[in-house]
Symmetry: C2
Subunit: 451 residues, 2 copies
Amino acid sequence: MTDDYPNTQSIDANDPSLTSWVESANTPGIDFPIQNLPFGVFLRNDDNANKPAVGVAIGDSILDCSACWNAGLFSNTPCEDSNIFARGSCNRLAALGRARVREIRDRVSWLLRSDTDAIKGNEALRERGIVSMSNATMLMPFAIGDYTDFYASANHATNVGKMFRPDGDPLLPNYKHLPVGYHGRASSIVVSGTGIKRPHGQLKADDAPPTFGPCRLLDHELEIGCFIASGNELGSRIDVNDAPGHIFGIVLVNDWSARDIQKWEYVPLGPFNAKNFGTTISPWVVTLDALAPYRKPLPARADGDPAPLPYLSPDAGSESEAMGLEINLEVTIESAKMREEGIAPMRISHSSGMDLYWTFAQMIAHHTSTGCNMRAGDMLASGTVSGVNEDQRGCMLELTWRGQNPVKLPTGEERKFLADGDRLTITGHCEREGAVRIGFGECSGVVLPAE
Amino acid sequence: MTDDYPNTQSIDANDPSLTSWVESANTPGIDFPIQNLPFGVFLRNDDNANKPAVGVAIGDSILDCSACWNAGLFSNTPCEDSNIFARGSCNRLAALGRARVREIRDRVSWLLRSDTDAIKGNEALRERGIVSMSNATMLMPFAIGDYTDFYASANHATNVGKMFRPDGDPLLPNYKHLPVGYHGRASSIVVSGTGIKRPHGQLKADDAPPTFGPCRLLDHELEIGCFIASGNELGSRIDVNDAPGHIFGIVLVNDWSARDIQKWEYVPLGPFNAKNFGTTISPWVVTLDALAPYRKPLPARADGDPAPLPYLSPDAGSESEAMGLEINLEVTIESAKMREEGIAPMRISHSSGMDLYWTFAQMIAHHTSTGCNMRAGDMLASGTVSGVNEDQRGCMLELTWRGQNPVKLPTGEERKFLADGDRLTITGHCEREGAVRIGFGECSGVVLPAE
């Protein structure tokens, strides 16, 4: 099915023209081969006067799209009139819409091919246009207008339901009829590498009045996020079949959560302070086009599950139906002691983008079904992605089953929830026979002590 | 107590210098006397090439601050280096912080005084600097980064609790310990006068599968909102005593709500699509300084109510303690038939800013207690403001008690919830002996049919 998508041919690893003159991009197993080309925003470390710019990851380097634009390399593309890369966000780029972004990405692909001399053959341009990742700081890829977090993994929702409502159905009646979600906090979304300070909040033990102090049950949530390209006008809807055309790309997300704050505050209006102290995303936004070989329909619903209502049902064989994302996700933890002792981070969980019950296309269709408007750069996150097995649970709450089964670290330390100094890292990649591996980089953050 | 606040003296109606050469501002009972001076963003209707600018309401006119800046009238103020008024939002102005905004407002006050000739005595400048409201279109005052909606009226929360949880305590256990709130949708906040299209959504009758269609139980919510001036860094907190220094001003808010969508979707993560199709605000942001004579502590908590935790307790006698706002609020309805028949809008509800259980200072302290960062232009809304009496309920859900007691219109029509063509208008004003009346203008919108 994916063979029908535009650009799919550019994923064929056997085409000798599909290697890059940026040699590191041709290393097998690297996250950013020429078939990936994710967009991000970076700042050169070696140039104090430099301003942030939009770049594309290639191997261990970054193509400075702004420098390329200034050299005339984006003529005859949808951005030829304005250097939309000389900016601190991808918002202007995304607002062009997915089809135009694809044209621009095609140009980037051409510029980086082994058999294209435009940059390769120009030493000054090569110097200016290619920046080593080790010599750059990644910034937030978007100025995020609105952030919405969903709850789209039925495995996760079932586990949480079992823990918190042991006497009822683990899934609430609405769960399989609509993608449950809530509005999140956009201001506190940060890029990978930013420390996350343990929040204060109201905590309440049973049979005692609430107190105010540092969160004791700090958790991560393994998620994936989707950035909107072109949006819709207030009062209009995005049809589920059109939704993929409104998606710019995908990132990894850690939706840090304060479980003790959450427990006391969240009824009746949902999670609030438990979630607004920090959300980490990976810096490189991987386009849907790069993911083409790794997109297919989600697994069929179980017998007895309701069919989605028509507004949530993509046409058979449509691009929107193939919005299950075969992304292999992993979470590692590294305690301060592990770091001191030189012990490698330990994998504590792995799951897949296929472990969702709803696709981003369905989430967008549902979200805009009221006429709610999306804007370029808005972010939708999946909610915790948990698989069915015990080692596939996407947060400490589930992994340790509310702390009953602590995670044992190689140092002998135990974790029921996260401790100060812990580094949590989410990685993701797509890989299968006959296609090039596509990686997401990492989404990482260290827990800083409360102040 | 309010006599100690800066600028309070400018509220003295008996000072003959405190009238304006803009004659309409001296009309008794007008919303925008020289003691008010709210900020907003407008577009001249008579000038196609004109760009939006920040203005100040004065009588039935607008002072074009950008034109005044260009004429050098803001020299020796905190904005002398840059025309922060030549913009489509007040964000840059607000980011200067409340103290600097006060200096700028003082200059505006001086420019508009009867005894100041700077504009009055310059015909060209008067022509350019004063725009009739009838010749301008008001735009959104801020580019809102994040919007948070609270639930701060205990009367409202109690009524909702009685309707939806008749067998339990109407207020949930956390209600009197923390200001309950949730993150809202910023993209769909619109300025007064914008039509609100009836949303579609999933609706579920008891014992039937959900269906998708137009909302049948459309409601308004009478609220007030607070715009942030200077914010705080991620990981830091705003002390409750410092919170008033972070507030730019107050507007009226109608948080339109789809009750049938809400009922089916809202457990467990809170209201989502029920709220994101439109939120209307009044265009003029009334500063805390203009409200000084109308600020006092909220009524003492009832015996048996818990004392707020220290982080939510302002110092006695502090400005933060005096964050109860004596704003008289009113809601009117005008059906399409009333409009056709020339029947005046009918008042259906009235309440007061004093009918809240939590102040905006406490909401800000709680919201940032986790380290969540606020940015200039963020909006916090109070939640539905309901008084104790039946005619003081701030939404149709409460007013009609879930439709059991319909509102009777002068045409003979009845309303359980809102019908297409209904215009809902919220107004607000402050008034008492010995102080000048301060008005908020209006927050109005017509319900448009679903499409």
